[in-house]
């Protein structure tokens, strides 16, 4: 763990009105590492990622990418930082009005002078990596949920990112397709050596893809360790969550 972390989050806070969502989050992501952030629905896992990627502006704290702070960057500078990122959204967020190849090659259409033929070729290459060759001209509405996610993944890796964010990559898929996505995430990490942050509440997926698991609860990271450390954690909140129990300290505090 020498050198600089890809991402260093310190004391990050974010509120919406009276609702405090993040309350002093600390998180590091080292090169080539896969960190999984777990936590219940609505604890602010997505908010955390959206702050790092610059979609939301945090109220306090710092975020450093490769040692440089991104708070206070102007939009142009922030766009340059974003070129290091790829993101897979929960429901893929494919552009409905564009064909698959235009979705996957979106960055190249917008930001390069490559010809249509070259972009189609690049898109086909990325689609092959996610196991979907030959669908360049389909529209997103013609794809199944699992295929949409994989196209979303192809779009995320198209720009050859250094860091990929996965927002609930397995949610809404059957167990077999979910595991196929897990395998894909692992093989992408091995082939492309990218670091990644995944947010999920699917523990099967978390154990499989994580080098490190962090649990977000009440706006703070309450546990951070290897999958084995998390499994054997004596924190009762962690234990309730990873075993999916309806009774325990989390539900007691919610008054349910």
């Amino acid at each position: 763990m020498d050198g600089l972390p890809k991402i260093r989050v310190r004391d990050l806070s974010k509120s919406f009105g009276d609702k405090v969502v993040l309350d002093g989050v600390n998180l590091d992501l080292w090169p080539g590492e896969s960190v999984v952030v777990i936590g219940g629905s609505g604890v602010g896992k997505s908010v955390l990622i959206k702050c790092i990627i610059g979609i939301l502006t945090p109220d306090g704290g710092t975020i450093e990418i490769d040692g440089k702070s991104i708070t206070g960057l102007n939009p142009g500078e922030m766009d340059n930082v974003r070129r290091k990122f790829g993101m897979l959204f929960q429901y893929a967020a494919l552009f409905d009005s564009l064909a698959v190849w235009e979705n996957v090659g979106f960055s190249y259409i917008q930001h390069s002078r490559l010809s249509e033929r070259e972009i189609r070729h690049l898109s086909e290459e990325k689609l092959r990596m996610v196991g979907l060759p030959g669908i360049l001209d389909l529209m997103p509405s013609e794809l199944s949920g699992g295929m949409r996610k994989r196209v979303g993944l192809a779009r995320a890796i198209a720009v050859e990112p250094e860091i990929i964010f996965y927002d609930e990559p397995t949610t809404g898929l059957d167990p077999i397709r979910a595991d196929a996505i897990n395998d894909l995430i692992i093989s992408l990490r091995e082939e492309l050596h990218v670091a990644s942050i995944t947010i999920t509440h699917d523990m099967v997926s978390a154990y499989k893809i994580a080098d490190r698991i962090a649990m977000l609860y009440r706006g703070k990271i309450i546990a951070d360790g290897t999958p084995d450390e998390i499994r054997s954690s004596d924190n009762p909140y962690v234990q309730q969550f990873i075993h999916g129990q309806a009774q325990g300290p989390i539900t007691d505090e919610l008054g349910e």
């Binding site: 974003r82 967020a93 409905d96 960055s107 917008q110 779009r155």
Partner: protein
């Protein structure tokens, strides 16, 4: 339902609260709208202009709105002739029907009615499209792909609407005047030559150009309100529905209000 029940049992304090809350919403929206407007203007001149997206929108806003606008215009011109004739006949001024139709169409009804029809057709579509993109995270996806959503989504709609509305209104003016002519000459028995003469005699070039200027302003209003409502949509499919309604109502009201002030200022 819940709303109805709450409103029927409101005491005076609650009425004041409701007024206050509504006023805050309007203030907030005019603020957001103004910010969006300045972002759009700055964004137009920044980076490569999105030509292909803009021409697509021009086709949608201009060409595809033509039938609706023309039907509105021809019947408006026709009914104007009918009404003016029966009114003016009372003091023997039925010879001026052509003048009234031409002035009303070019200065007022062409721009306003065409714009309100386009607000219903296109403003709603903009709100629905951008609203759906917002709730399905497509707008967030644009940002992560280092693409400014204002530049990619709003600028093409804004420019296309600004450019196409005046064109639509030229057609509306012409067709409206023809509608009035057909009614006056064939049904009311006016003389064709004197109708045309009276029309041309009193119609000034500035009547037309100022009408077109108004149309350009209305075009900006339609795109801004439609995109704004879509852009700030929250609350899933229901939110998209609400945004669509508010886009049409908001744009129509703003068109009518600004129409008064533009008319007072320009004519």
């Amino acid at each position: 339902m819940a709303n109805e029940r709450r409103r029927s049992s409101m005491n005076p304090v609650q009425v004041l609260e409701w007024i206050g809350r509504r006023s805050l919403v309007y203030l907030q929206e005019s603020g957001q709208g103004t910010i969006l407007f300045t972002r759009v203007i700055r964004s137009i001149f920044k980076g490569p202009f999105p030509v292909r997206l803009t021409t697509q929108q021009m086709e949608e806003i201009g060409f595809r709105s033509l039938p609706v606008v023309l039907i509105t215009a021809i019947f408006t011109g026709a009914v104007l002739a009918l009404q003016t004739y029966s009114g003016f006949k009372r003091f023997g001024a039925e010879g001026l029907v052509g003048t009234v139709v031409a002035l009303s169409m070019t200065r007022e009804l062409g721009p306003v009615l065409a714009s309100i029809m386009v607000a219903g057709r296109v403003g709603s579509a903009m709100a629905a499209e951008l609203g759906t993109m917002r709730v399905t995270e497509q707008i967030d996806a644009l940002i992560t792909l280092a693409t400014d959503p204002v530049h990619y989504l709003v600028v093409p709609r804004f420019v296309a609407s600004l450019v196409m509305l005046p064109f639509l209104v030229i057609f509306a003016d012409i067709i409206g005047i023809i509608g009035g002519y057909v009614v006056a000459v064939t049904i009311l028995g006016a003389s064709s030559t004197s109708y045309i003469n009276r029309t041309l005699q009193y119609l000034e070039f500035s009547d037309i150009t100022i009408g077109l200027l108004k149309a350009a302003v209305f075009g900006m209003i339609i795109a801004l309100v439609g995109c704004h409502m879509g852009f700030y949509t929250t609350g899933g499919a229901e939110g998209v529905g609400k945004a669509t309604t508010r886009a049409v109502v908001g744009a129509s009201i703003l068109i009518l209000i600004s129409n008064y002030f533009l008319t007072a200022l320009l004519f």
